[in-house]
Amino acid sequence: MWGYYVVLALRSSARSKALTALVIVLLAFGVSACMVSYAVFRATTSDPLPGKSSRLYVPLIDNIGPSYNYLGEPNETLSCMDAMALWHAHKASRQTLLYPTKWQVESDNPSVPAMTETGDAATADFFSMFDVPFRFGSGWTADDDAQHATVAVISRHLNEALFGGQNSVGQEIRLDGQLFRIGGVLEDWNPRPRFFDLGDDVRPFDDVGDIYIPFTRATDMKKDSTFSLCPTDSQAFDESNWDAYLHSECDRIVAWVELATPADVDSYREYLRHYAAEQQRLGRFSWPPNIRLRNLTDWLTFLQVTPRASSLSILVSASFLLIVLVNVVGLMLARFMRRAPEIGVRRALGASRTAIYRQFLVEAASMGFVGGLLGVALTLLGVWGAGALFEPNIARLVHADTSLIALTVLLAIAATVVSALYPTWRAAQTQPAWQIKIN
């Protein structure tokens, strides 16, 4: 019976070619616009650490006060003093302090010229908290942090460039002229978005850096973050007096804490509030505690990591699909009403209302299927052309896969069937006697 309905659908489509083609083309465009936008959207809103993002938190403490902060929000990084205080308090099961840096890299390999590479100064838990995969060796230990060890972890990419991809653990490189022992080489690791050290010149869809060294050692080397915000007129600070800089209210350090249960989160928040209140009591802050504790997901939302081009395009293409559906309802209505005589005859010959429903919904679904196939072609075209539509570092994340293709066809069928519901109901209301009498 179902096969017969499909044949009927094909036959009726053949009779009104233009209308059928219009419905199919409209559907294909509506669905593919949505799917291309969705492909970009899922690439830009993906969870960089699935399963863990709800346990990792970014604590913030307002150390600049209402006259310098923006709309009452604390700066997005901590001052060195506050970061060290949180670090020493050790109120979370795991915690890391970090900041992005830039290094001049030299190796003993004379064929590789000196180069500038980026990376992060971090504490030992960095690698375990963020599930960073290792190819050779491992990260450093808390003991290395305490010893201000000259140990470095480098990316697979840098290892290729400097050591030809060999296991380089134990070898040495020079960072800003200082010798470092290589403790580990990372596997390819490029979380999207780059969530852990976002700042003015680290953008969410940039590649991660190539060099990681202990925070304490980087501080000894007077290595500044690539961004820092100071509550001064120029927002800069004289760093030649490094010790004064470390004790200034300049914000530049990102802290992450791992908190497993809601109770842990509450008590950590309470700790932060207590800490800020203490600073107020000591006279360092002249404002009441203004703290934030956001988990990774909320943090990315707060930073508005998803590019506007992406969220706007999903909004507008969803509206486009809605308009297409309204359109398809009208066209389906025309198509089905035109066949009132046929329905009349079928009903008179004993077809039940249910049979009419079934026939017309099958017809809609088959049109949806064809629209979906055309939609897949257009979606692939759109994904292929994403480079022309989106910024390069976002476009390269966009890809088509089986789930996207299946979703395209499913969406097309579901959309058509939904928009055929009312026209089908109208068709099923056809009075057989009335139709037969007229003719």
């Binding site: 004289d238 486009f320 025309a334």
Partner: protein, 416 residues
């Protein structure tokens, strides 16, 4: 005449539409949604086009930027000597018109060392005027291809030396006209003294216009200051180079070669150490271009879809009403009457959609203002959208109406 005849027809049209409530409502809804979405999308496009079309006021076609990093361990004096030697060779490369060293460049983006606050009085308690600055020398104006509207250029003896951790206290500065007018609304900026964080400076020149390193902030990017200083940052220096011709590739290669003669002191990233102003502009506005392009394409598709829907439904109505049209024709209606009927009917339906759509458009705009910090949509945007939709509706119904007008009167007495 035609107008009154059309007007007389309105009552029967409305009566006829009453018999097709659902189909009519569908077109009205579709027009309304289209107007709401398309006018907001096109409004977003217009805000982005404003960004895209904002000039830096420099001679972009002939400018390129070298981001030159210094090898570590060099003293300020060594870096100063490096810069002087580099400039000497840069300015003598064939095809180079002029060059100057700075710490930033137009559209170069935010860094710690590009903003300053200028105060009008040394003891001013409020925050000074936020501005962006370029470290410059006497060659900056010629290199950037900008022009002074008043005052003079820097003299060689005015060029100071400063750095990220050193005081910057030049005796003189050059500002853009936007900034001059902001600081001294009475137009008396030339010769006045303003106060940098580290000391006073006289305004000796006023530039017609120059965009700073930032973009998209409505006025700050026009509040640009040239500071006569060699900015000795141990991390690196930016050389801006203006070429004679637009064929920059050979000149870039030649400058790179000239710099590599003293290659031991520097690191220039081969990937993006050297960028042309055209590339800088493309990267800086990539998001704007992307949004504008996407919204335009989607709006275009939207309008096409709506037009398609109108054609489809109108054709269906015409085929349904062949008998009725035949009767009207045999009672004396001309083909023109039939044409006008369908055009008037379409106008009525689209107008209904536009009324509803304008309301939806403003609601959507309110929502977008909230989420995306968009400005309020001016009234002319939905008005233009409405005109477009009226026109689109009339065009879309033209084919079906012509088809209807061709129905011969004899249809009235034929049973189909």
């Amino acid at each position: 005449m035609a107008f009154t005849r059309t007007f007389m027809q309105l009552r029967p049209i409305i009566a006829a539409l009453g018999r097709h409530k659902v189909a009519t409502a569908l077109i009205v809804l579709q027009v309304a949604l289209t107007l709401a979405v398309a006018s907001n999308a096109l409004f977003i496009v217009s805000t982005r086009i404003v960004h895209l079309s904002r000039p830096t006021s420099t001679d972009e076609a002939h400018l390129f930027v070298i981001r030159n990093g210094w090898k570590l361990g060099q003293t300020a004096a060594q870096i100063d000597a490096n810069i002087s030697a580099d400039l000497e060779s840069l300015r003598h490369v064939a095809g180079v018109r002029d060059a100057f060293p700075s710490q930033g460049f137009p559209l170069g983006g935010f860094k710690d060392d590009i903003i300053l606050r200028l105060k009008l009085k040394p003891d001013q308690k409020t925050h000074g005027q936020l501005v962006t600055f370029f470290a410059s020398d006497g060659h900056a104006i010629d290199t950037l291809g900008i022009s002074l509207v008043a005052g003079r250029n820097f003299r060689p003896d005015e060029i100071t030396v400063s750095g990220p951790n050193e005081k910057m206290s030049p005796a003189s500065i050059i500002v853009t006209r936007s900034l001059a007018d902001q600081l001294f609304p009475d137009g008396s900026a030339l010769g006045k003294t303003v106060y940098l964080p580290d000391g006073p400076a006289a305004i000796i020149g006023i530039l017609a216009s120059l965009q700073g390193p930032l973009k998209q902030s409505d006025r700050l990017d026009r509040y640009t200051v040239l500071v006569p200083t060699h900015y000795l940052d141990p991390a690196g220096v930016v050389y801006l180079v203006r070429t004679d011709s637009t064929a920059m590739k050979p000149v870039i290669a030649a400058t790179l070669k000239a710099l590599q003669e003293r290659g031991g002191v520097r690191i220039i990233d081969l990937k993006d150490g050297i960028v042309t102003m055209a590339q800088v502009r493309e990267r800086a506005y990539a998001e704007d271009r992307s949004v504008a392009l996407l919204m335009s394409i989607l709006s275009g598709l939207l309008l096409l879809a709506t037009a398609g829907g109108i054609v489809g439904l109108s054709s269906f109505w015409v085929s349904q009403r062949r008998r009725q049209i035949g009767i009207r024709r045999s009672l004396g209606a001309t083909t023109g009457d039939i044409l006008r009927y369908f055009h008037a009917e379409n106008f009525l339906i689209v107008s209904g959609g536009i009324l509803l759509g304008a309301l939806l458009a403003f609601l959507a705009n309110l929502g977008l203002m909230h989420v995306y910090e968009l400005p309020r949509m001016p009234l002319y945007v939905p008005l233009l959208g409405a005109l477009l939709l009226w026109l689109l509706g009339q065009l879309a119904v033209w084919g079906p109406a012509r088809f209807a007008a061709k129905v011969p009167p004899v249809v009235a007495i034929r049973t189909e």
